[in-house]
Symmetry: C2
């Protein structure tokens, strides 16, 4: 099959402008000339350096983004991706502890928290009748200053009276334990790659079409009661999932 042979050679030796640019920039990062969270030079500058157009340059940047080597902040520029956080969704999530164990600096911001009429899908997760009242807490989480996670927590209000008056900036896990004597038990989670929904991309300052890892967790307590569920949208280059069953 000469056709396939030719295709194969081409795919091996193909040296398009885009791949050349990718290799050059990847080289800067590997050799440490650019490090974590450093900003790349402006697109017009780079396209000049590589003697090409912005369109072509942006194609290359998009490929490096897809590989998780760089990321962008809406209208601010391109940055070198820091190492991924190793995350086991089956463990009781304690974001701050997890980050610190890996030598990273965590931070949490509460966007808002309210009692709402639960959307049908959420109530189904919580095993409640549709439109039941639920607590909704929306937060974003940072690693080393970079916003990596937009999360909506939905709580069964029966188990957490007056929790909206508490300080929701710290760990919910801890709050559950100290204030309500509720501990996480079994977890179920689902995960699929998509893009950020509008509220998430706004909060994280990413382009609203950029890819994300969407993780749903349904959490039970020590009595196997469903106590809450999380809808998590992660920057997809921030995560390394690692699951080991005990």
């Amino acid at each position: 099959m000469l056709h396939n042979e030719a295709a194969f050679r081409a795919s091996l030796s193909r040296q398009t402008a885009v791949t050349a640019i990718c290799q050059a920039i990847a080289g800067w990062i590997e050799r440490g000339e650019l490090t974590y969270n450093d900003r790349l030079p402006a697109e017009r500058l780079l396209s000049g350096q590589f003697a090409t157009t912005r369109i072509t340059l942006r194609e290359a940047l998009g490929q490096l983004e897809a590989r998780g080597m760089i990321y962008r902040e809406e209208r601010r520029g391109w940055f070198v991706s820091p190492p991924r956080i190793v995350y086991n969704p089956l463990q009781r999530s304690h974001f701050h502890a997890m980050a610190r164990e890996q030598g990273r600096k965590p931070a949490t911001e509460v966007l808002d928290a309210a009692k709402i009429s639960g959307p049908a899908a959420i109530c189904a997760h919580l095993a409640l009748p549709a439109h039941s009242p639920v607590f909704c807490i929306r937060r974003i989480r940072r690693i080393d200053g970079r916003a990596v996670l937009y999360v909506e927590h939905y709580l069964n209000p029966a188990y957490f009276p007056a929790i909206l008056q508490e300080d929701l900036t710290s760990s919910l896990t801890e709050l559950y334990a100290t204030r309500y004597a509720i501990h996480y038990g079994k977890v179920r989670f689902a995960m699929l790659p998509t893009t950020f929904p509008a509220p998430a991309s706004q909060a994280l300052k990413v382009a609203d079409n950029s890819p994300a890892l969407f993780i749903t967790r349904i959490n039970r307590d020590q009595y196997a009661r469903i106590i809450d569920c999380d809808l998590e949208y992660w920057r997809y280059d921030a995560l390394h999932i690692d699951v080991e069953v005990e």
Copy 2:
């Protein structure tokens, strides 16, 4: 903050050519005017229909691809994505059974199978000394004819004498059970989003920069011995991970 207000309004009401095209094509799919694995009209045709350039049109197609609504085959065109396969990596993987349970048609192709000197990383996974001989089986898997998975299996040869002479097109799980009386026990898996490596993109006929879900599984048998590990590269729009611990 007038700045933020303006930004917010813009982001809500923004109706760029790209988003308009996305909505139009998404509408075709939602209304069933295009269904699973249908090919979209040619790019030049579409760009004419939307009175725009191919660059802009391709931007829109790229966004729909990121959402998992459409996919492309290298130089063949754009197609409507079929529903995702629900996959629990903690369960003993039986690809064919899993697909059939979900009403899909599975297929497997063996690319090659050989005894090789194990790369260091693989030997570490298998708890073998570096460069130990291992069996390497490379396969691709299809759902309803669409190649969705490129996988490299690495087997500890001590447990599977002469397995390379067997028919490797069917389930390894079954082969292990019937021929070697070995059954899967505990599993560990890691997962991270990246892009396809060259051999995978070639085998699956995807652009070599396109995003993929990279899943590593390390499998133990009923005696908790590590028997094999899999390096799986999935089309990222083909999967819906769902993990429930027993």
